[in-house]
Subunit: 366 residues, 2 copies
Amino acid sequence: MNQPLTLGDTFSQAEYRTTGNGPRSVKVLLDALRDVDGDTPSDMYGRGETIEKFERKLADMLGKESAVFFPSGTMAQQIALRIWSDRQGSKAVAYHPLCHLEIHEQDGLKELHHLEPILLADEERLITLEDVKKLPENVACLLLELPQREIGGELPDYAEIEAISAYCREKGIALHLDGARLFEILPYYGKTAEQVCALFDSVYVSFYKGVGGIAGAMLLGDADLAQQSKVWKRRHGGDLISLYPYILSSEHYLDLRLPKMAQYYEEAKELAALYNAQPSVRTRPEVPVSNMFHLHFSGLSAEAAAPVVAGVQADTGIALVAYLKEISDTACATEIAIGDLYEAVPKEKLHEAVELLGKRLSEAQK
Amino acid sequence: MNQPLTLGDTFSQAEYRTTGNGPRSVKVLLDALRDVDGDTPSDMYGRGETIEKFERKLADMLGKESAVFFPSGTMAQQIALRIWSDRQGSKAVAYHPLCHLEIHEQDGLKELHHLEPILLADEERLITLEDVKKLPENVACLLLELPQREIGGELPDYAEIEAISAYCREKGIALHLDGARLFEILPYYGKTAEQVCALFDSVYVSFYKGVGGIAGAMLLGDADLAQQSKVWKRRHGGDLISLYPYILSSEHYLDLRLPKMAQYYEEAKELAALYNAQPSVRTRPEVPVSNMFHLHFSGLSAEAAAPVVAGVQADTGIALVAYLKEISDTACATEIAIGDLYEAVPKEKLHEAVELLGKRLSEAQK
């Protein structure tokens, strides 16, 4: 008796993958260490050249006074908001209802820091200047996530961010950037990281999203914020004696993939257009603004769509979808993020696979 | 003009080192990864064979129901105490005044978890059963650190721990073991890790003290505690997408060094006896009970003693002391921890170096 093929199995066994940079295996670390001298000394509790040089590099790249390396963005962002809260003397902070801090961190911000988030906009759309203008007087900090990952990686017009930034400065509200995917949006805006970050008082960036590192994050801002964040890093248990496995790999993959972000962006637009040509398939955004988008299938539940997609992956050798998330009884979706692997997929085979997917999804709805 | 030789320089440049396992360089990670298959999949947010297998191994070794890997002991122990506090409905926890949570964590326990520690015993001695009996009724958890690092790694008699454990169980006080150096004390007690841990309700062990890994810790206890600790790990920002650099290296060095703990203990006793034969030099404990002890120089400040020790290290090629901590104007101390390197030190040269140190320290006092 054959087990039905799962999405995950057919995705990982396919000859070509349309998304990502490849499996998250130990090879990712080995590759990053290949050219590192074994005598390179460890960082020691946040000190030493291994960590300080990388912090300086990011501070310069993003145009901020100081940078502090963190094991995770969860830790870095809670701490950033806590520091703004303490400085402004208010527990009120504002962010989107689908902010990482609201839905993926087991309420650490509330349980550990007792901050009181105000949710702006709604689960279907981005935060606008109009939303920000309705904030109460006492808000310490507004967090903007660019791109807004949970709605497919949408972005506001650049002028909207500039207007929000100007308004926050006028009102004395600290503006924090959740830049987990900052490098991924620069080609769309046609701006440098420094230009975007100049609109914000503090910035977090991640090294394992588009960058494809192992883990790790950087928090950037003024020198006082950096110094205070180190105290909180120690309190959180993140001031490890050695963070170099993450630091060295973060730097390696940042150097490797920063120059490729424009290519990923173009490829995301190309792939999204292929999907949007199929019935029952649409992408959000319709035209991607970074390397990512969400892929929505209508007319089928995740349970009904999964074997269809798995069959296409098994029959064509092209991995399209790693998992499906239920939206409703007749809708499901997945996240697509373009990385190194897309360019190796033969275009003709890709077109065939996407067309076959469209055809079989339509048939399955009947 | 010659710069005076520093302690640190002469320590790291000496031909032989009496302490530790060698420099904390990237080589430590490379060695650990040498035999790891590059296709080994990453752990993913605390799941997957890479992390679960190691957690199971430690749970079995220490005789606890469940184990959870943490990036740091700081995170693991705050969380353990928070869970006991929530379970018992009391913010009162008890530990030694030189507990890691009290002096090395920027008050994370208080700032993040709002726990209220009661300090038992004093900075000069271990916690006794008599101290524990004076605790108020409402104490949620007592933390015992074995060995008590900040006073040289002293240990209570095993019967005293058994009595404290029995008392805590009778009174409903959770007993938590700070076992950062648990493996190091087993030869002295002549007990297995499981026997020691059976006296405690929860246990933390570290993988970068005597074990000599890169970073990482394990928290062990009942299955509920493990499950709750994972929620808090996420809140602290410690539930990284990938912890495998620490997991793989922790397992590698644990396997390598667990069988050597008895040897380190014997060597620590040998070295301490050499030091204690010198005037103005004494060790605490006088006879070590693990691989560690503190080395005290009397009659000289750290500033006065440092060039004397540096000179001995430069002249003999034997590294004895990496740093000196000021105790008073006429006393200073350092921590000694025996590791892999001690056995390679030629005994005759070692005796000469220690005798020369004793002689020069006496001369310097005149």
